[in-house]
């Protein structure tokens, strides 16, 4: 009798244990944390048009630590992490990788801007990373992995990395010589076929942009989740395309993406996601990451005080809206030289201050050109150059910022003539401007986009044949130079460093006359 009771008790206990055992239920809760397009914004900042401080790597790291402590998690970066802000640029992204190592990233995919410092630097950063860097559709960088497989609570998760095949459009051609960026869908499909039976969940870590992610989800069967970047999209909720879930977490560390996945019998039983905004709060920061941020920020501050060369004359940034100045000439010459263009036309308003005779510091150059501008060169007809100059001098009386500073050309204007007919003579390489002839004109991206009312660059592009990427370089009829990965101010610093001394003069490039 006693023996029967004991056996009954033992059997009941066994079944109770069996019922509550995870082995029996086969259900796991896992979490994927993700960031994208960080661009080196380690220090919190007030975004353009916002009234509040946002971001801050130390606060982002604290939030990651907290969420990761609650359940098994992966931490992923969807590209464009190491270029953009000075905190990253002055160290060619080394600072970012150091912080990411401490934060315990599981994987990162290369973004287009990871190539902005050149291939050697890409390889150096990959070597420094304690986590794999992915790029399944990139050939020529053997250090990039196609995918990784991670196991969380017995769930096998594959993470495949792909980057936009338009990388050569967004960086200088020299940065991608010998590399190929293959159509991502083909590569992903092949890898998914290979991995599907070996893994429970397939994640694509993508730097294709939201539209590209949706196209990928439509084209490729078998992707469970796409963690995206490139378009800086703030996806507050997941987007579903068939059986694929797409997420993306804005930009600059201002948000952390969180994906909650329930797995049952090795299949996704439920998936949801949300965005966790990041704001500075000294009470909730990762102190180790905060120390890294501070350490590099001190180096940034020190770098600002470094002397890069000597100005043998005062450099006039004050009168750039009224006429030719030696500083305007210097900057226009540097831009023309860097791009190999026939001429350069820039807006005087883009030159914000003067530099006194004597040592030139990094901070002096940053003060002259504080904006994140880069050099573009576009073919304009002689007629378009004439119209551009007319537009430039049309705001002379109001001292508008569109007044031009030039290189490689001389023009004469009469500010008393009616607007639209003030330009009297234009010489390029000493020869009169030929209205029907094409010339290459260097400028900054602001004017190329139509800033300050300059329309000729956009008009020229409209008439350009479709651009294409061939062998790692851009082929376009009108676009001849485009280096979005290198700020103009850094080009100027490198020039002054190289020259050691500078003494630009007023040369009569801009003449008043009738």
């Amino acid at each position: 009798m006693l023996s029967t009771k004991i056996w009954t008790l033992l059997l009941s206990s066994f079944f109770i244990i069996l019922c509550i055992s995870p082995v029996y239920s086969q259900q796991q809760e896992i979490r994927i944390l993700h960031v994208n397009d960080f661009h080196g914004f380690a220090v919190e900042y007030r975004p353009y048009g916002s009234s509040e401080m946002q971001g801050g790597l130390a606060y982002l790291a604290w939030k990651i630590d907290k969420l990761r402590s609650e359940k098994p998690s992966l931490l992923l970066a969807a590209g464009d992490m190491i270029q953009g802000n000075n905190w990253a640029n002055l160290f060619q992204g080394k600072s970012v990788i150091e912080a990411m190592n401490v934060m315990g990233f599981d994987a990162m995919v290369v973004g287009n801007h990871e190539f902005d410092y050149g291939q050697d630097v890409v390889r150096e950063r990959i070597a420094e990373a304690n986590f794999p860097v992915l790029g399944a559709n990139v050939t020529g960088v053997s250090e990039l992995k196609q995918y990784i497989i991670k196991e969380l609570e017995g769930v096998r998760i594959a993470v495949i990395g792909v980057v936009t095949d338009e990388v050569p459009v967004t960086t200088h051609p020299r940065n991608v010589v010998g590399l190929e960026f293959l159509p991502p869908a083909d590569r992903v499909q092949k890898i998914v076929w290979d991995l599907r039976n070996r893994c429970d969940i397939i994640v694509v870590l993508s730097h294709l942009g939201f539209t590209g992610d949706m196209e990928l989800a439509k084209k490729v069967n078998g992707i469970d989740l796409i963690v995206g970047g490139h378009s800086h999209t703030k996806l507050e909720k997941p987007v579903f395309v068939g059986t694929t879930t797409i997420v993306q977490a804005y930009e600059h560390g201002k948000a952390l993406g969180v994906v909650e996945i329930t797995v049952e019998d090795r299949q996704i039983a439920g998936i949801t996601s949300f965005i966790e905004p990041i704001h500075p709060d000294p009470k909730v920061m990762n102190k180790t990451v905060a120390a890294i941020v501070d350490n590099y920020q001190k180096k940034v501050d020190a770098r600002m005080n470094e002397t890069v060369g000597v100005a043998e004359v005062d450099l006039d940034g004050k009168n750039v809206r009224l006429g030719e100045t030696n500083l305007g000439n210097l900057l226009a010459d540097i831009m023309r030289g860097a791009s190999g263009a026939d001429t350069a036309i820039i807006n005087g308003g883009g030159i914000r201050t003067s530099i006194n005779k004597g040592p030139v510091k990094v901070n002096d150059v940053y003060s002259v050109v504080p904006f994140d501008n880069y050099i573009v060169a576009i073919k304009l007809s002689g007629k378009q150059i004439q119209e551009t100059l007319e537009h430039g001098v049309s705001g002379f009386e109001e001292e508008e910022g569109r007044f031009p500073q030039v290189s490689g050309l001389i023009f004469t204007y009469d500010h008393k003539s009616p607007k639209g007919s003030r330009i009297k003579e234009v010489l390029i390489a000493g020869q009169p401007l030929v209205l029907e002839k094409d010339y290459t004109v260097a400028t900054n991206d602001f004017l190329a986009a139509g800033g300050d009312g300059y329309k000729a660059f956009g008009d020229a592009l409209k008439s350009s044949k479709d651009y294409s990427v061939m062998g790692g370089t851009i082929k376009a009829e009108k676009l001849v130079y485009n280096d979005s990965g290198r700020w103009l101010r850094d080009v100027i610093i490198d020039y002054i460093k190289d020259q050691k001394t500078i003494s630009p003069k007023i040369e009569g490039r801009i003449r008043e006359g009738k």
């Binding site: 353009y48 378009s231 986009a449």
Partner: protein
Amino acid sequence: MKVYVNDREVTIVPGMTVKHALIAAGLVHEIEKGKRVYDKYGNEIGLGGALTEGSKMYVR
């Protein structure tokens, strides 16, 4: 590359971003006033966001 800001076509250099499209449309100062940019699906996008041929965005 042609993109659309508030349904108006603008032409920018390939590789340019949301910020450049707003410059081309003369709307970048709207952001300083507190307006934001959204893609055609209603998702907010950052000024550095990449664009592709035919991208549509709205400032509001």
